[in-house]
Symmetry: C2
Amino acid sequence: MKKTSIILSISLFIFIFVGCTSNIETNNSTLIQTNPLPSWNEGETKTSIINYVTDVTNTESANFIDIPDRVAVFDNDGTLWSEQPAYFQLYFAIDRIKELAKDHPEWKDIQPYKAVLENDMQALAATGEHGLMKLVLTTHSGMTTDEFSASVKEWIRTATHPTKNVGFDKLIYKPMLELLDYLRKNSFKTYIVSGGGVDFMRASVTEVYGIPEEQIIGSTIKTEFKLVDGNPEIIRLAEIDFIDDKEGKPINIHKIIGKKPIFCAGNSDGDLAMMQWTASNSDDSFMLYIHHTDSVREWAYDRDSHMGRFDKALDEANEKGWTVVDMEKDWSVIFPFD
Amino acid sequence: MKKTSIILSISLFIFIFVGCTSNIETNNSTLIQTNPLPSWNEGETKTSIINYVTDVTNTESANFIDIPDRVAVFDNDGTLWSEQPAYFQLYFAIDRIKELAKDHPEWKDIQPYKAVLENDMQALAATGEHGLMKLVLTTHSGMTTDEFSASVKEWIRTATHPTKNVGFDKLIYKPMLELLDYLRKNSFKTYIVSGGGVDFMRASVTEVYGIPEEQIIGSTIKTEFKLVDGNPEIIRLAEIDFIDDKEGKPINIHKIIGKKPIFCAGNSDGDLAMMQWTASNSDDSFMLYIHHTDSVREWAYDRDSHMGRFDKALDEANEKGWTVVDMEKDWSVIFPFD
């Protein structure tokens, strides 16, 4: 089993998070006037997005949608930033185990920690779902919410991607930052709805995408509120609360936002349910799928990928005429550093 | 056992919801300039609120708090509208049983439905926690989210309070509407964080308080996403998901908002944990407790009440110097119709 594909399968159990750039809104504000999506090549995809936004924000249009109903939801991994060779949150978990190992000498003999400490991905994969879940829960629980947030912030500031050799926070998609900005300038409220851990994403995502903490929805673990020497703390417990993926996405959208989106962006079968939910809006809605087709500048994968498998949803997108972005063809720039 | 006290104990198991008035923001906008809280009598309570808001929104102040961090959370029952003689959501559940009974002839012989249909509150109470939970789950599940919302909207439009003989949606506190408005005009984001059912509140609360659906947090039941003839639906299941009360309040605030409030308003021991959480903010924060002291215009109750028991929290508020509103003394008007 190749190292990459082992990491791929490990990552299926892991949540996700996000990197750091800044001042997107300020940088683009002048461009918006003339060309709201400068990193998108001219063509049907770009035109369809601009036509939709122009139409539903035009008070003279029969399709006009009032501001409070302009809810836009975005998947994160593979939609706003990369997810290869594995969901970035897995690398956090691995690095965190190595860091915590100082206080846990016993780990050198216990799986799945032993495998991580020995960089033995094959042995790690052999620990199976149980071992991997243990890895996630160990690295994401047993501390206060503040402590966890601080550990994520420190990690994202210092860690680098295994093959691209840049910080994980550099591997965000410039065209999508422009799209978020364009929608916000048209009074859309932009949300992230991701399988990634919500506190993991919040620890850095606010600055990256200009999306505040309260508009980030993700997977959660259970927590406990308690007074420690009279001071209230929220402690992260080693127990899954909710997995915000597949059918969990529209369920969480209903629970937390309480209204149906009019705009949905995603890249995988895990986003299909929230696409269907958005498509069922009685207002005119827009479904945008990102197809990873650029093996040179990013990665090319779809139906057979462990990360972001795009198979059933690709068929449904084609069948229903949803907009599918061809990354190689539609995006003139992928990463801000390109 | 008196009818009222039976309803009181029944209501402990029930979530809550909210009524309808309108144009609060428009009506008050001119007053805001000269007197932001016209229904609040001059005195220490009113002064402390205005001094706090003026201070933390003043860029020259050492206590200045940036707009994204101006999170204000409000309990609903007993804080924004009345909760006597029982949480209003209980009356919805009872009326709903009577309405649904047409399609359930078998209910006339089965508890707890029989008791409700015969208006026998004593028999209803005798069904115990199990019977009452069945009542709630029956009336709040087994339908789509859209259907449930429609049923709440129709009920609030037509139902009247058992002793005040006005619509439940008239029993909202004018001083609190002014406070919500005042905070929003100072760029606070106002949230409801209530033990009431979130979908129940959303079905009417947006117009009442000017708080959009996505800023309403409450108790939830589990739901299921599924395609029915190709159309996605979210079905409400007869199973509790999360009770947003006591320690559940700060847990949900962290999970959904992701930051600590700077302003918290409540009226009972059920709000104590979120008060403590707010008080632990490293920024200057404000804790406001409503004390029901007006037996003539509203109701007077505290330490021994089944609804909104204010006992342990009253001690802690006094001990810590949190602001406690004396409704009789501090409010010149209680309901908008006064």
